[in-house]
Structures are given as structure tokens and as C-alpha cells.
């Protein structure tokens, strides 16, 4: 640990880590510090809106999955009901994946930065 200073009130920051590459990699992923906006360019407006809508669908889909898992844990579904519920959610996930591919979106695109509250998903 490097303890600086003859001049402890310096305005120059110390930056210290033993793993710089690892942090550069992680921090370079943080691209959403700039406010994201829907681009009104006619070619990309469709993708911007799709990103917003699919994010909300993904959020709801995850809630449904959690609810299904809770019901499975509660053992209040018959094996047939469990299988049907699982199949339905599996199809929903596959459909969402298909839509993401169609609009050229990756998993990490489906999120909304809510500022101090954090990220939606």
C-alpha cells in the first residue's frame, strides 16, 4: 500500500490496483454512463423502440420464471402442470431470443439504467 504524502491535500488522485487489465476490461463494459436515447434516425428508430419494448418483456418474463420456480418449490403443481408451465416458459424464452436476433440485439442490450436505483434487470 502506497501512502502518499508529504502533501496529503493534493488535488491529484492516486489510482492503485494490482490488476489493471482486469479493471480496464470490466470498466470498458460500462458504456451506459452516457444517457442512452432513442435515435430518431428512420433506419434505427425501429431498433431503439424494439430495445425498449423487449427490455420490458424480458423483465416480465423473468418475473414469471421466478413465480413458476416458487410454485415448483411450494410443490403445489402436479407433474403435468409443472411440465406444461416449463414448456410454456421455455417457448417464451426461445421467442424472445428470436426477436432479439431479428432486431440485432444482444442479451446485455436488454436493460435500462435507472440511475441511482441501479439497473432494471
Amino acid at each position: 500500500m502506497k501512502l502518499p504524502p508529504e502533501n496529503p491535500f493534493s488535488a491529484e488522485p492516486d489510482i492503485e490496483t494490482s490488476h489493471p487489465e482486469e479493471f480496464v476490461e470490466q470498466l470498458s463494459c460500462v458504456t451506459d454512463t452516457l444517457p442512452s436515447r432513442i435515435n430518431v434516425d428512420p433506419q434505427s428508430v425501429e431498433q431503439g423502440l424494439a430495445k425498449l419494448v423487449l427490455t420490458l418483456i424480458e423483465f416480465i418474463r423473468r418475473l414469471l420464471e421466478k413465480q413458476a420456480v416458487r410454485r415448483m418449490e411450494g410443490e403445489d403443481l402436479s407433474p403435468e402442470q409443472l411440465e406444461d408451465l416449463g414448456l410454456a416458459l421455455m417457448k417464451l424464452e426461445a421467442k424472445l431470443q428470436e426477436l432479439k436476433t431479428q432486431f440485432g440485439l444482444e442479451d446485455e442490450d436488454l436493460n435500462i439504467n435507472l440511475g441511482p436505483v441501479g439497473r432494471l434487470i
Partner: protein, 242 residues
């Protein structure tokens, strides 16, 4: 002509004449409505979010930090003089309070990467694979395992955050700790500390690092209190990404 805003301060600053800001423009500070603003006069309506401009913004705020504890504006804040006067007149009391809150303080930053990933093993033990189940049930079992992983990760991340906060509690004034349980970069924390507590804070952080050898740290500071300023709400940032 618009004003590019860098920061607010409580007293007039002695900025070096050679100091340059956004786009190489000169920097001036003056008293307005009883508060000191640090600005550049610019013609542009949008400031490009380039490396040079972002570093220029930080350079000016840090220069102001040499003899004050400024409240930095968000990068890209452009306003007319009339708009600024009206903003300061309306918000003067809360800005004075916030300046008092950061007086003689600096921000210290901590980022933590989690290196171990033991949760998958334990979740597999709790939720065994069901070879005889149909695809729908197997899907739900896999989801249950994934959710269990998330819960374990959240608990681990929360424990790291609590440990960090407890360690520095005695030397900080305020904190903002963001926990990201599902990411490798698990903790992003900012601490507001009195300038004269900097060495003490660094000793506490050194002790914390020793207590948690399994974690990777990036510590930095002192910074202007960007995280605790929060004075950009009334202004939109006007910047473009080139």
C-alpha cells in the same frame, strides 16, 4: 454565447491563467448570486464527448479543488447567463447547504472485482439434475438452480458491502455503495471524507484489502465530490458522441 459550467464553489478561486478548459477555451470564475461559478464561454450548442474534453472538464474541476471543495456539474452542462442566474436564484439555499456538506471534503472511490465463483457447485448440490424429467420440468429445474446462484451471489456481495462500510465507517462522512451481485465488478463505492482523514481512510482500506485477499481492488482518489454533488438535475447535458 453560452456558458459551459464546470463547478460551483463557496469562495473566489485563484485559477492559473494558463488553465484551459473545453476546446482549449479560457476558464473564468466569478461571483453570481452569492455563489462562485467556474465557466468557459463557448459558441457551441453541443460539447463533443471526446477524451480531450472530458479530461479538460476534470482538469478544471480539480484545479478548483486545490483551494476549495467544489460541486462539479455534470459533463456537458451548457446554459445561457440568464438561465444560470435564474437557476442560482431559485436554488441558492439548497446549493449553499450542499456546498457546506462537501466543505473540506473529497471523494474516494473503491471498485471491487470478485475472483471466486463457488456458487455453482453449491447450487448443484442443493438442486440436483433430474434425468427422468421432461424438457419443461428440466427447464424449470435449471431456472431454479440459476435463481439459487443469484441468491448466493447477492448474499456474498451484500456481505462484502457490509464489511467495507463497517471498516471505513469511522472515517467517512457519507457513502454511496452500489452492489452488483451478478457482475464480476461486484462493488462500486464512493466515500465522502474530510481531507484531513485521507491518511486514516487509506489505512482502513489497506486493512480491508488484507482482510479480503480473495478480492481484487481498484482504489482511487482524492476526487472532487462528483458522486455527492447532484446539481445537474435542472440542466440537460448538451453533448454529442463523436
Amino acid at each position: 454565447m453560452r456558458l459551459y459550467l464546470y463547478c460551483l464553489a463557496e469562495k473566489l478561486l485563484h485559477l492559473e491563467k494558463s488553465l484551459t478548459g473545453i476546446g482549449g477555451k479560457g476558464v473564468e470564475s466569478f461571483d453570481l448570486e452569492g455563489l462562485v461559478v467556474v465557466v468557459s464561454q463557448v459558441e457551441e450548442e453541443i460539447v463533443a464527448a471526446t477524451r480531450e474534453n472530458i479530461l479538460a472538464h476534470d482538469r478544471v474541476v480539480r484545479a478548483a479543488m486545490k483551494d476549495s471543495s467544489p460541486l462539479p456539474f455534470r459533463f456537458g452542462t451548457l446554459v445561457t447567463r440568464e438561465g444560470l442566474v435564474s437557476y442560482l436564484a431559485a436554488r441558492r439555499n439548497s446549493l449553499v447547504e450542499r456546498l457546506a456538506e462537501v466543505r473540506n471534503c473529497v471523494e474516494m472511490s473503491v471498485k471491487i472485482i470478485r475472483t471466486s465463483d463457488p456458487q455453482m457447485e453449491s447450487s448443484n448440490q442443493i438442486v440436483p439434475k433430474l434425468d427422468s424429467a421432461g424438457p419443461g420440468t428440466a427447464f424449470l429445474v435449471a431456472k431454479r438452480r440459476a435463481l439459487l446462484c443469484e441468491e448466493i451471489l447477492s448474499e456474498e456481495a451484500g456481505e462484502i458491502a457490509r464489511h467495507l462500510s463497517a471498516r471505513v465507517k469511522s472515517v467517512i462522512k457519507r457513502e454511496q455503495v452500489t452492489v452488483q451481485p451478478l457482475q464480476k465488478l461486484v462493488i462500486v463505492a464512493a466515500f465522502l471524507i474530510q481531507r484531513d482523514k485521507e491518511l486514516e481512510y487509506k489505512r482502513e482500506m489497506a486493512a480491508f484489502r488484507q482482510e479480503r485477499p480473495e478480492l481484487h481492488f481498484l482504489t482511487s482518489g482524492p476526487w472532487p465530490p462528483y458522486t455527492f454533488a447532484n446539481i445537474d438535475l435542472e440542466f440537460e447535458s448538451h453533448f454529442g458522441v463523436s
